[in-house]
Amino acid sequence: MIPTWVQLGYLLAAACFIIALKGLSGPGTARRGNLIGAFGAALACVIVFFERDLDHQLPILAAIAVGSAAGVVGAQRVQMTQMPQLVALFNGVGGAAAALVAGLELSELVEAAELAGGGLGDVPEFDLAATAFTILVGAVSFSGSLVTFAKLQELMTTRPVTFPGLPVAFGGSIIAAGALSVLLVLEPATWAGVVIGVLGLALGVLLVLPVGGADVPIVISLLNAFTGLAVAAGGYVLGNTLLLVAGTLVGASGTLLTRLMAAAMGRSLANTLFGALKGGSTLGGGEVSDRPVRSAGPTDVAILLGYAQRVIVVPGYGLAVAQAQHTLRELVDVLGERGVQVDYAIHPVAGRMPGHMNVLLAEAQVPYEQLKEMDEINDEFKRTDVVLVVGANDVVNPAARSSPGAPIYGMPILHADQAEQVIFMKRSMRPGFAGIENELLFDGRTTLLFGDAKENMSKLLNAVKSL
């Protein structure tokens, strides 16, 4: 029996997690909320050693030390631009841990039953079903997260990957995993658990491959919810209320968050996951077009900006990759001194994840009041002299409004095309993360400034200063 004070400790930790999630959903309380969550988790990890007599305490503590060191170093060293990948990776290893825990518990259940004289009927069916669920979902989350990691890190193509047999393979794996789960409940065996795990790994890969680059954040959030559910089921198997509560909280809030994110991008979840399978969403082909565009040098652009009255900056992931956000802030400051009214238009999914761009610009100490959300600023574009698009592409692509075949069709976009003049700062004509061409680039009102964003930004800054 678990000592009462340990159970109360778990209850306290569970309460901390609820307060943490509540805190994380408000800007003023978010950081404190996160710390409260960390406190709850730390508390739980200390008192678990008092729950029952545990062997191998020294190796366990050593393993915790190794994991902590790696986690802290990874989290501290990562560039803020690469943060989505890291979150995906952390989520994946959490899923793997849940699957391994359930697998071990299964083998212990089987062994214990064999020792008791082969009476496997003593193991409750529901425990076995929950074990199978944890292994399956944990494995899906692990391999799925690794694929999202590879896509975000651009280790593989960011475009949807499909092959003719994919739906069949996917459906077949689900049916096989379901059948094995039933078998596991009727006839508990460790090997069945292992096979379910392998099927889960395959399912995770098959689930994420057809998802296009721009939709990857939604999938990370979904897999996050999956891991939560796996942890919850694991909690049931182990008879641990804290795991059940924490996992369910993450599963439920993660599912809602996934839907909110999908809504912010104007996508349905089903469309995100299976859109590519229906075909037709591979418009554009990701090729570099050789149609004529109008390009200019920093001095010309400086004149456009310096003598404008109203300027809106649309920052994208390319800005952050080039580390040009600090120079951009200086430029905006200088323009402000010249009497130009400048704001930043932040698309909900600017960067790689919803809210990512806010993090990146906050890092460059851009004042919060200059950051305007899409709904807030979209009507302003028609009254704007110059829109400066830096390292963004898909979020101002009119194809989202006009071409039903485009992968981003239906995504709410910033109406940059309604402004008097549009300036794109781009490295090349390469299409954006969604892999489609942007008609706005070829528009008569558009000027392109090619080159490294950081270098060009400093040239632009100097040119505006000397106007």
Binding site: A13, I18, K22, L24, S25, G26, P27, A30, R31, G33, N34, G37, A38, A41, A44, C45, V48, H56, Q57, P59, I60, A63, I64, V66, G67, S68, G71, G74, M80, L86, F90, N91, A96, A97, L100, V101, G103, E108, E111, S221, N224, T227, G228, A232, Y236, L244, V245, A246, V250, G251, S253, L256, L257, P354, G355, V359, A362, P367, Y368, E369
Partner: protein, 103 residues
């Protein structure tokens, strides 16, 4: 009440709480919230410690220790990276509250 029903009750109530607490989040905070929630499920570490501590075979111990390392990575890394993100929101916090007050 049978034990299964108690577990079911906890589960269902947790679903409602999980949905309720984040229902009013602004899109600005989606990323940190996802990252924070991600860290919370790292508490599977508790489960990893329990199964490792009761492992009987060498293989079981090895698998358990791998699970412990992975779970710790999830939990510790998750909280640290979330804190790093939120650190950057610290300065504008005053403005945000002001803004909320004006609305």
């Amino acid at each position: 009440m049978s034990e299964e029903v108690v577990w079911l009750t906890i589960f269902v109530l947790s679903v409602f709480v999980g949905i309720e607490v984040i229902s009013k989040v602004s899109s600005t905070l989606h990323t940190p919230l996802m990252s924070g929630a991600n860290a919370i499920h790292g508490v599977i570490l508790v489960g990893a410690v329990l199964v490792t501590g009761t492992a009987e075979s060498g293989l079981g111990l090895a698998v358990g220790l791998v699970a412990v390392v992975l779970a710790t990575l999830n939990m510790v890394g998750g909280f640290v990276v979330t804190d790093r993100m939120l650190q950057m929101f610290r300065r504008p916090r005053g403005d945000a509250q002001q803004k909320a007050g004006q609305k």
